[in-house]
Symmetry: C2
Subunit: 190 residues, 2 copies
DNA sequence: TGTTTTTTGTTGCTTAAGCAACACAGGAGT
DNA sequence: ACTCCTGTGTTGCTTAAGCAACAAAAAACA
């Protein structure tokens, strides 16, 4: 069968260990600043040996990367953005998702240091880029899809972050409608 | 320090595995008859390899024994019966605990087969016996403490089982008061 | 009844997790 | 400056868990 090789079956022990680490990490992120979280703390809360941590991640920055990978990916999946096509509505949904994600992570995660935010930005923007690139694959008449995806991912993240800094009450809907033209500037008509 | 050697530190992997097995087993017991539960089922629900099960228990009967050990012990601890002394009140509390335990296990565990009940009886009665033996250690003037504990443990279990078969509404209190003399028949005055 | 199918224990081998110990880096306080 | 302390990566070695495969028992089914 092999629906997709993406679904690699991996050792149940590894699954569990990573799950413990992720859970502990997310819990700690909601309690204290990323920079003040230690690997020792993570492993103690996860109930695993510290050595085991290093068998999975290089350090806590690496872990943050992997965690964001999973968390934001799950966010996209929840909105079915990973299984749809290029459209104006989906672009709005994407922008909305990013807005909410950044807002939530800045409230849930105790005062994010600059290192932290840099990692978040890089990882999330990368996923936005990949998604848009995937969308554009089945759209004709775009000269440089890669560059368009890059530009748009920066635009989206930037706009979302800007919005999240000024917590507009009542959801990002109005904001999204206003700035959507900026997002689609480098994209084909949808 | 070594408060007591009873608290043996054991490998976290072992702790987890046993915890998974116990949880899965208790969940299954609340869903179906013990005799229809398979080791394969337990390990699948526990998310562990079947081979690992046999590294901890001989078979599902062995597991039932170990499970009862922990569960009933926890029940005793909850009523602080393991850290108190011989008295009329504590005897009543013990009898009450056994009554409730047997009633609960016969309702929570789907139709207990005779094998099942035999194991329960043996294991629980053993713990009752040990407890009473411990109580009697600090009581003077008892000739054969061991035999007294044996006799009383059988009495208590038998009376509790008898009560649980005829579910007297409103708790076992009245029943306990009535039969307490039978329990204390082989015991020193308290 | 006889014949599949499932479950059971058990085996040898692989891999992940635990553990103790280490040198080293950074911070806190004196 | 200094020590003291805590966290960091990393190492070699031990132990537990995973895995595939097996024969035999038990269940399920015809």
């Amino acid at each position: 069968m092999e629906m997709s090789v993406i679904e690699k079956e991996l050792d149940p022990r590894v699954r569990r260990t990573q799950s413990y680490i992720l859970d502990a990490f997310r819990a700690l992120l909601s309690e204290k600043a990323f920079k003040s979280i230690t690997v020792k703390e993570i492993t103690e809360r996860a109930g695993i040996n510290r050595t085991t941590f290093y068998a999975h991640y290089q350090d806590k920055f690496d872990l943050l990367n992997a965690a964001l990978q999973m968390i934001f990916e799950a966010e996209l999946e929840q909105n079915a953005l990973n299984v749809c096509h290029y459209s104006r509505e989906n672009l709005k949904a994407l922008l909305r998702t990013v807005c909410q994600f950044i807002r939530d992570s800045s409230t849930e995660c105790k005062l994010a240091n600059s290192q932290f935010e840099l990692i978040v930005e890089k990882q999330v923007r990368r996923q936005i880029q990949d998604l848009i690139e995937m969308w554009l694959e089945e759209v004709e008449g775009v000269r440089d899809k890669k560059s368009a995806a890059v530009a748009t991912s920066w635009t989206i993240y930037g706009l979302a972050e800007h919005w999240s800094q000024d917590p507009d009450q009542g959801g990002p809907e109005r904001y999204i409608d206003r700035v959507l033209p900026l997002v689609t500037a480098n994209l084909p008509a949808a």
